[in-house]
């Protein structure tokens, strides 16, 4: 009996030790260094390809083994986790606003951060295109076709998904160009969202809805997601349609210097992000259907990426802070549109 009792006590104390004893290995002076990269939804394949290459390079240069852990999710959700204390070393998110929020709401990141790396800290760009079902049965050529009767559009929720915010702004840019006014743009976007039957919380959920569940006629998607869906999820089942106008999406990266300093990982984290700009990484980026910055890689993959008119967040929307406040904050245009369409 006492034996069993002792076993029970041992099990219990073990449990408490496990509860209390936490991962507190912040010391990087050893042979292994840990890096946590908090990223947005669609970059899983990209970093799966990049991480081993960087690890090999870092090992060759410093002799140190680097283990990179990934966390993926909707961009806003990921930023929220960092703000709440997810101890990441680098953030590679869908848009600058979410990184701004980390800087504003926590001590994980100091400002200014966006000037620390080239191209506004965006190692690659992308844009928003349409994915339609094979043969384009609904004859969708441009944004105007999305609001025709009987067309269903799939896009995630701009409140939670970074990609969806780019979608929304691209649609807005079309509406403004077509009508010549902001009122016309709002009218267009409102009609567009009346054609949206499902609002997933992230880009990946939206793609799944469109591809696997067969809902909708058009998916508004990251260009890289559209390529991936076409390639991975069903050859010949989908076509990509490039609209007349879209937005230059600039997913941004930053070393979370506050966290990294505490972990002693500043050096490796900075090297990791700088590596994204090297020709080797830029080639991987192009291969994964993101638009590389590097001219050589851009030229190599140029045939993938059609030229189209791209508006930018800074020039056309006055930067992310202004755009977020105007469109996506509570009581903003997105809320207004939904309050109107749904009641």
């Amino acid at each position: 009996m006492t034996q069993r009792r002792n076993a029970a006590i041992a099990a219990l104390s073990l449990a408490f030790t496990a509860l209390a004893g936490c991962s507190a290995d912040g010391d990087s002076k050893g042979a292994t260094v840990e890096l946590l990269n908090v990223s947005y939804d669609p970059t899983r394949e990209l970093y799966t390809a990049i991480n081993p290459k960087f690890a090999a390079k870092w090992k060759a240069e410093t002799g140190q083994t680097v283990r990179i852990t990934m966390s993926h999710g909707g961009s806003g959700k990921q930023a929220r986790a960092v703000i709440d204390g997810l101890d990441a070393d680098v953030a590679t998110l869908a848009l600058a606003y979410d990184v701004d929020e980390i800087a504003a709401r926590s001590d994980a990141l100091t400002t200014p951060w966006q000037t620390r790396l080239a191209n506004n800290s965006a190692p690659y760009t992308s844009t928003i295109v349409f994915l339609v079902r094979s043969g384009n049965p609904k004859g969708i050529r441009d944004w105007g076709d999305l609001v025709k009767p009987g067309v269903q559009v799939i896009t995630p929720n701009p409140k939670t998904s970074g990609g969806a915010r780019w979608n929304f702004l691209a649609a807005w840019a079309y509406g403004r160009q077509a009508s010549g006014s902001d009122a016309g743009a709002e009218d267009y976007v409102q009609r567009l969202f009346a054609h949206v039957p499902v609002l997933d919380s992230g880009a990946r959920g939206a793609t799944t809805t469109f591809v696997e569940r067969g809902i909708g006629d058009v998916l508004l998607a990251w260009e890289n997601e559209a390529f991936l869906a076409q390639k991975e999820l069903g050859k010949g089942r989908f076509d990509i349609v490039v609209p007349s106008i879209s937005i230059l999406a600039e997913p941004t990266v930053a070393v979370l210097d506050g966290n990294a300093k505490r972990h002693g990982t500043t050096e490796v984290a900075e090297a990791y992000l700088k590596y994204l700009y090297t020709p080797e990484a830029q080639d991987i980026i192009g291969r994964n259907h993101y638009r590389p910055n590097n001219p050589a890689a851009a030229a190599k993959y140029a045939t993938q990426f059609p030229q189209l008119k791209l508006v930018t967040i800074d020039e056309d929307f006055g930067g992310w802070q202004a755009a977020q406040k105007r469109f996506f904050a509570d009581g903003g245009i997105f809320d207004r549109i939904f309050a109107k369409t749904k009641r």
């Binding site: 219990l12 496990a18 509860l19 991962s23 703000i83």
Partner: protein, 278 residues
């Protein structure tokens, strides 16, 4: 409703058919779907999906979390049942209601409360940060959220059972000179063992399967803080549907084993009661 005490053959058949049809459509079909989707690309793909390192890490984490949360709630459940069932005190109903509370609290709220407590901006956040202790987005946070959602299972199973059994047996043992602990171990525990096992089974099933609460506090670090249900979601979001359903099927298997064990316990329980009572 056309139910009657002495039902005619046809009505009886119709009722049975209706009930079974309903259960098949709403309960059995989802279970079948999990296995059908998991094996959609053959057994090789299924095995590969489960042997994948991140899947194994998720399985290990799920087992670890359950191995911590379930024993804690067993100890608590027995203590609570002992206090509530064997003694009279004011506020008993209130206490019982509090123990029930996690049943009716949304799992999302269960996750949120720990973020409010232990998040970087929570009550204890700054202190934890100074001392470099990670609770949220690490295993302790997942354990806490799991303990919360599985909190009432064991206690709720034991309280009615122990109050029904009363305290005569214990009082007899004590009067014969047994110590308190001996009384519990030799008298109470054998009396409640099937009920206890039953509560533990349900507690364990929920601990391994919890999604909402754990999702809020996990941080979704691959290979580190993804439990099996979270890993299912991740695979699902990676368009890896076969793998998602493969891991899901492990959880479904767990559910089946739970149901089988539960049926056995029920049978033993009925048998024991039938022998003693009627």
């Amino acid at each position: 409703m056309t139910a009657r005490p002495a039902t005619s053959g046809a009505a009886r058949f119709a009722l049975i058919a209706l009930a079974i049809g309903f259960l098949a459509l709403f309960l059995l079909l989802p279970l079948v779907a999990v296995f059908a989707e998991a094996l959609a690309k053959g057994f090789g793909a299924y095995a590969a999906a489960i042997a994948e390192p991140d899947a194994l890490a998720a399985i290990r984490l799920t087992l670890l979390v359950a191995a911590i949360a379930v024993p804690l709630n067993i100890v608590f459940g027995i203590a609570a049942a002992w206090a509530i069932a064997k003694f009279d005190f004011p506020g008993k109903t209130v206490l019982t209601s509090f123990i029930d509370l996690p049943f009716s609290v949304s799992p999302v709220v269960a996750g949120l409360i720990y973020v409010l407590l232990f998040g970087a901006h929570g009550w204890f956040g700054p202190w934890l940060r100074v001392h470099d202790i990670q609770i949220i987005f690490a295993v302790p946070g997942i354990v806490l959220a799991t303990v919360f959602v599985t909190f009432p299972f064991v206690a709720r199973e034991l309280i009615p059972l122990m109050s029904e059994q009363g305290r005569d047996d214990e009082e007899a043992a004590l009067s014969l000179g047994a110590s308190g602990f001996q009384t519990f171990w030799r008298v109470t525990l054998p009396n409640i063992r099937w009920g206890l096992l039953y509560g533990v089974l349900l507690c364990n099933a929920r601990a391994m399967g919890e999604f909402g609460a754990v999702s809020v506090v996990s941080g979704h670090l691959r290979g580190q803080t993804n439990t099996m249900p979270l890993h299912v979601e991740i695979l699902y979001n990676e368009y890896n549907f076969v793998a998602a359903f493969a891991v899901a099927s492990l959880l479904a298997l767990l559910a089946l084993v739970t149901l089988i064990l539960k049926s056995i316990v029920e049978w033993r329980f009925d048998y024991q009661r039938g022998g003693a009572g009627h």
